[in-house]
Amino acid sequence: MTQYTIRRLLAAIPVVIGVLIVTFALARAIPGEPCTAMFGEKATPEVCAIFNAEKGLDKPLTTQFAIFARDMLRGDFGDSIRFKRPVMQILIERLPQTIELGIASVVIAISIGIPLGIISALRRNSPTDVATMIGANIGVSMPVFWLGLMLIYVFALLLKDTPFQMPASGRLSAGMSPVPFYEVYGWALTEGTFGAKLAEFISNFYIFNSIITADWEVLVDAVRHLILPAVALATIPLAIVARMTRSAMLEVLGQDYVRTARAKGLRRRQVVMKHAFRNALLPIVTIIGLQFGLVLSGAILTETTFGLAGVGRSLYEAITARDYPIIQGFVVVIAVGYVLVNLLVDLSYAILDPRIQLD
């Protein structure tokens, strides 16, 4: 297993390098310069010359790429042109939000989609099955932004002043300020070290942070803010998971060993959950991993609709502002995340099905 993991990680290196090159090239291929994007009408050639020299944008492209690659290897993502802050810092602030959203939506998709799929498979062609599959079709075809707007309309406007009212945007209500767990526990962290950065990164997972610091008020508020975007984002994966589960279960349930298990007198429930479902899990896990990977980069519509400053939205804004370091940093993180999620999925195969030997 370790060997396999290492081999896979090594195999991912060329892909990441490819992503680096393409990102670098694409970011610069977009017409318009950071200078004009930033200063607008005031971007005279003189101003731009100073600006470019300051940011190192006047060097030849090859030199720029070499510097960029060197910094990346050192784990330095550079400074944002627009915000004049390290890209790493921006990532620390924004990545947890997207991951939180992604996890929440995938959890919703799994916890509803899998049972739906199993029930559909068990009662094939029954009204339940037909209804579920029609629902799944609708779910797949639903535009996320429209669903998001409808959710906002219903839960933030129509249900206003009822217990079901949900906040329409943001991560926390105004006035809420979560205390990072390291401050609560009184850890002394030196600014700028890896440990401090990691702690800050973790503390930006508001839900996790509020659980470990027992700050229930923030927890409730963060969860309430998360529900609507997570539901909007979960709709499509939910529908896909339900269909996938159904078809995988149908395939497994039709096999002889399932009949054998029933024939030897096992309970139906036991056969379904232990014999059938476990064997049907592999494709489901694959799709879940993939959906999570997609969420990392694809949540931009949801993030925009719900006013969340996550990875997708930051990336979009960086593109419009020609903020090369942010574009590059975020894309690399997304690509690495994609590779890692894929790897996790592959490793989980071996755990779910002991017959699979990865090495």
Binding site: P14, V15, G18, V19, V22, T23, L26, A27, A29, I30, P31, V140, I236, I240, R243, M244, S247, A248, L250, E251, V252, G254, Q255, D256, Y257, V258, T260, A261, H275, N279, A280, L282, P283, T286, I287, L290, Q291, L294, S297, G298, I300, G312, L315, Y316, I319, I327, F330, V331, I334, A335, Y338, V339, D346, Y349, D353, R355, I356, Q357
Partner: protein
Amino acid sequence: MSIASEPTPVTTLPPLDDAAVASIGDYRANTLWRLTLRRLFRQKSAVVGLILLALLLFSALFAPLIAPYDPEQPLIGIENVGKRDGPCIHLLGCPADQPQHIMGIDGNFRDVFSRIIYGTRVSLYVGLLTVSFAVVTGTLLGAIAGFFGGWADNIIMRILDVVLAFPFLLLAIAIVSVLGPGLTNAMLAIAIISIPSYARVTRASVLSVRQMDFIEASRALGGQQLAHPLRPHSAQRATAAHRRGHVGHRHGHSGHGRPVVHRPGGTAADAGVGRDAGPGAQPGLQRAAPGLLPRPGHHADRAGLQSAGRRPARRPRPAPRPRQRRGQRVRKKSLTQRRKERQAQKDSELGVLCVFA
């Protein structure tokens, strides 16, 4: 499968009467196309899909006849309508003196219904062109990668991996901003992004089919290298050949095998072990089964359209497990080969998923 059985050979041929001639006609008429169509129309979901598609086509073709207004003409000054007016349908009690707008007016004083009718033209055009571009390019690349293997495979698939791992948005924005905005470029962007999924699916099927006997036979007969990835073993052909029983006696799934296309449900479960290797399966077979069956068209399950050509209309009874004859040798596979097959299966799933996503 209802192919009319051939008349039993007799020593003296009976005179050709009308019935015999008619039955010959029947026999010939059962072409793959016809069987395909018949299966297609037996599937409810496919029929529904076809009807929807036909509706779209109809409204695109006859847009000028259906649409009551010019889609681009602002009605300000022409009719007494306001910005973003709601629908006005005479049948539902809208006063008769007001102009009828089934879906209301948009922000630029245009009739929404007409715009939607004309919009189907653009949608169909974009959908058709992008998908066909992506399918052709992706299939070609996947077939080349799968068939030639080695460095060609590595280079092509790694490049496609980069595309796949790349955020869709940036790629789309970059393509459009480099080439300039416009319908064609947007289409190109969508097409390029969807190439990897098709390539992966194709590569996976090619990988599993290229080991089959009829490819070897074709090679042995002196068939040209290049003809292979493109012709006899494109997915449908392979399945069709498979179904006709040209293939596979040696592979332990006797003759007719399973005409059923494997779905992504297969996954890694049959990587090291056979698809049929549930807890109760016979050993021995386990090594033989994986990868031997063509697995094209995984979305077959979902899109009735695609599935019709490849699998029986109704979900098949659990296929009879191929029996291993006593004394028959089961070919073992090398580790590398199994690893490749596993990767191929994963690829194919991934492809399908991407198509959905």
